[in-house]
Amino acid sequence: MADTATIPAAGSGTPAPVAEATGISKRFGATVALRDARISIAEGESHALVGRNGAGKSTLVSILTGLQQPDTGSLRFSGAPAPAFGDIDAWRSKVACVYQHSTIIGELTVAENLFLNRQSPGAVRPIRWKQLRQRAQELLGEYGVAVDPAARARDLTVEQRQFVEIARALSFGARFIILDEPTAKLDARGIGRLFDKLRDLQQQGVAFLFISHHLQEVYDLCTTVTVYRDAAHILTAPVAQLGHRLLVEAMTGEAAPAAPGSASASPVAPAGRSELLRIEALSLPGTCEDLSLSVRSGEVVGLAGAAASGNVQVGEAVAGLHRATSGRISVGGRNVRTGSVPSALAAGVGFVPEDRHLQGLVNNRSVAENATLTVTDQLGPFGVVLPARTRAFAQHMIRDLDIKTPQATTPVSALSGGNQQKVVVARALATDPHVLVAIRPTNGVDVKSKEFLLGRIRRAADEGKAALIVSDELDDLKACDRVVVMFHGRVVAEFDRGWKDEHVVAAIEGVADTTTPTAASTASGNHQHGR
């Protein structure tokens, strides 16, 4: 897609943008995080930066805030060159940032968090607490934040913490603030209040760089949008001139051949089949509310959603990792006690966790041990694990999943990413589960393994099981019979086979009209995207 011209700074007066980066490149080892990227934010402008995961947004933020040095390129604030690397105070007078991860320290009071490392005028001058609280009160009042400065920060709500972070960021005198996914942890009303606050600030002449996965928020708040894809700048345009479709297209890129495995579309599971997984009115604290979903025998259902949508938590709840505040999960008609992994296992749930390194594999142990971790009770009598039976079981699974390993006794850390993931899937299937829950099953694996894994999940369904694939990867979703999309803890759309990429992406990003029609033609559109 060709570059669209950057719009000139709105209004007359100062031509120099508050922040301007040109030709920025950054590598981390072999990965290119940014390639000749640029961005320019005019005074008082609300500028959105969007892109799929891995597009380079976070790297740009850390370069703009002086946490990382670019390999090439130049950075100017209001026409002047950026401060020296490492001069944190100078950077903070130019650019304020509310990071994706909270930088509030829970054990300290709000007042102290606001003035951390500048509680007193000099390092050896004692802190005058009463005065500090008063200054905090004034600062909070200035930005209309109703928080008690003497409260411990951990007792604040997420929204209050966010406001405290914004107030702190602006208190350094910067007129340009970066908000890295500020809405990720807020509910709809919180987001509304945050936006009101941001509009107020904008009227005071503060410029924003707003990063969000939710395109609707971009349309609500911003005047200009910049799209990054695959570590490079794609376009910059006024939001009003860029329709939803064009924006999603810019994010996902041009057409590419349809996903392999899914072309052999098996027929949609007949409605008469029995329901194997049933989620009824499930509520998880802080992530999802009143969610219902069912998966039939022989069916593969995709549960899509962006990072904060709660889809991963729902998948984990089915596997017994989270306790629900209300609602029921039943497998094959049998109730599963939420928050109990043994109960989920007993009911017949197989689970492929999101992060194989953190939750999936015991790295320095052998392939055989890892693959049989869930079935040690079948490997011998009275809790004994017989090596011969372990070996036989592991050999069977290595064949079944086509795991490329020199031996069953090879440590799993010596395998490639794809084969490691196969071990995780093998383990999930080892218990012969009724329901297979797979979270991002093809995360970080090569194309061949991806195809194989999705095919294997399909085969499990064909054998009469039910599969739930939790993912935001279009390739994963293409392998599903049905895709259910979550947004901010609710189901917002459902697609039958043959959906178009842009419709699903739009629903994931929260820009879909909830009545998106499910197109009948097979997927032939654009679907290449980052990662």
Partner: protein, 347 residues
């Protein structure tokens, strides 16, 4: 597939004032937590008063305080280090090895029961001892912060290594002929109270004030609470942690001076096995092992509690053979009490 977790996230704000109210109430409790051992100390005092008329005498109480001094300096050091989220086990060896090295450097090469190198005049013993403390802290800091080694194991190694160095230098013997300047602080009495008690009181007051009113003191809480957030706030995390590790070893070396002076000799096992008591006293005093929480005053009440228990037991005629058992039991009971007094999990 790890353990079950609750997805805990504060509910979206209902009304701001209500939230602020609960916050204020919790703050009150938080302040109270620091004092949570005071009732225990009072109860111990009452028991002591009942079991023996000798308990509530100036001599006895001063004796308890004097015996707490060396331990309390290690507790002060550990409290500072734990608050910024680190630990240093080697303190218990520093208390022995620093005086030995200092004395070894100043004692004459011949004539005494223990022959040193005689490199420095005798008045240099104290400065040298403190310098050794600084060097040990700096070395630990280098290994932990520059080479990014695991702090627990590094200091465990240092604990063993330094104890071994002391044994090798002193040939496993107690060193009795110490320079008079070296023993003065441990022996002297100012205004009828041992100098060591005055010094400890001053050091605790200084430490507590620095943590409460100085930016760099507050930085310890920030670092222990969330090191990444501290870094983005412009705090030089590594530099401050390094300084705290050095300060901790310096305090341990100083405790060694007081201890040697008090008993008139440097024993070969000086400080050996103390670190468990030090950690116990610090933690029951309300300092979190995970960092970011606690105060030196709380830690001080922890030491006094442990020492009073021993004293009361002795006066009550409980055989000394039971001391170890009771010490352990008291630690566990104190932990349970502070767990429920503060209402927070200790993970």
């Amino acid at each position: 597939m790890s353990a079950t977790t609750d997805v805990t996230q504060p509910a979206p704000s209902t009304t701001a004032p209500a939230a602020a109210d609960t916050a204020r109430r919790r703050l009150g409790l938080g302040r109270f937590r620091e004092l949570s051992l005071i009732p225990a100390i009072l109860v111990l005092g009452l028991i002591g008063f009942i079991v023996s008329p000798a308990f509530l005498t100036a001599d006895n109480l001063i004796g308890v305080a004097q015996q707490s001094t060396e331990l309390s300096l290690l507790v002060l050091a550990t409290a500072l280090i734990l608050i910024c989220g680190r630990m240093d086990l080697s303190l218990e060896s520093t208390i022995g090895v620093a005086p030995v090295i200092a004395v070894w450097l100043v004692l004459p090469t011949s004539g005494g029961r223990f022959n040193g190198l005689g490199l420095f005049p005798e008045w240099m013993a104290i400065p040298l001892c403190l310098l050794v403390g600084v060097a040990i802290g700096a070395l630990n800091g280098f290994l932990i912060l520059k080479l990014r080694l695991n702090g627990f194991i590094v200091t465990l190694g240092a604990l063993t290594m330094l104890r071994g160095l002391q044994v090798a230098l002193s040939e496993g013997q107690s060193i009795v002929d110490l320079p008079s300047s070296f023993t003065y602080l441990g022996k002297a009495s100012w205004f009828g109270v041992p100098a060591a008690i005055w010094i400890c009181a001053v050091l605790f007051a200084a430490g507590g004030s620095a943590l409460a009113w100085l930016r760099h003191g507050r930085a310890l809480y920030a670092i222990g609470g969330n090191a990444e957030a501290a870094r983005t706030a412009g705090i030089r995390v590594d530099r401050i942690v390094w300084a705290v590790l050095i300060l901790g070893s310096l305090l341990a070396a100083f405790a060694g001076i007081l201890y040697s002076g008090h008993y008139g000799s440097i024993s070969a096992t000086q400080g050996s096995g103390w670190i468990f008591q030090v950690f116990a006293a610090t933690v029951i005093g309300g300092v979190s092992l995970n960092g970011g929480k606690g105060s030196v005053f709380g830690a001080l009440t922890g030491v006094l509690t442990l020492q009073l228990v021993v004293n009361v037991m002795t006066l009550a005629g409980v055989p000394a053979l039971w001391n170890q058992f009771l010490n352990g039991a008291i630690i566990i009971v104190a932990l349970i009490i502070s767990r429920f007094a503060s209402g927070e999990k200790q993970e």
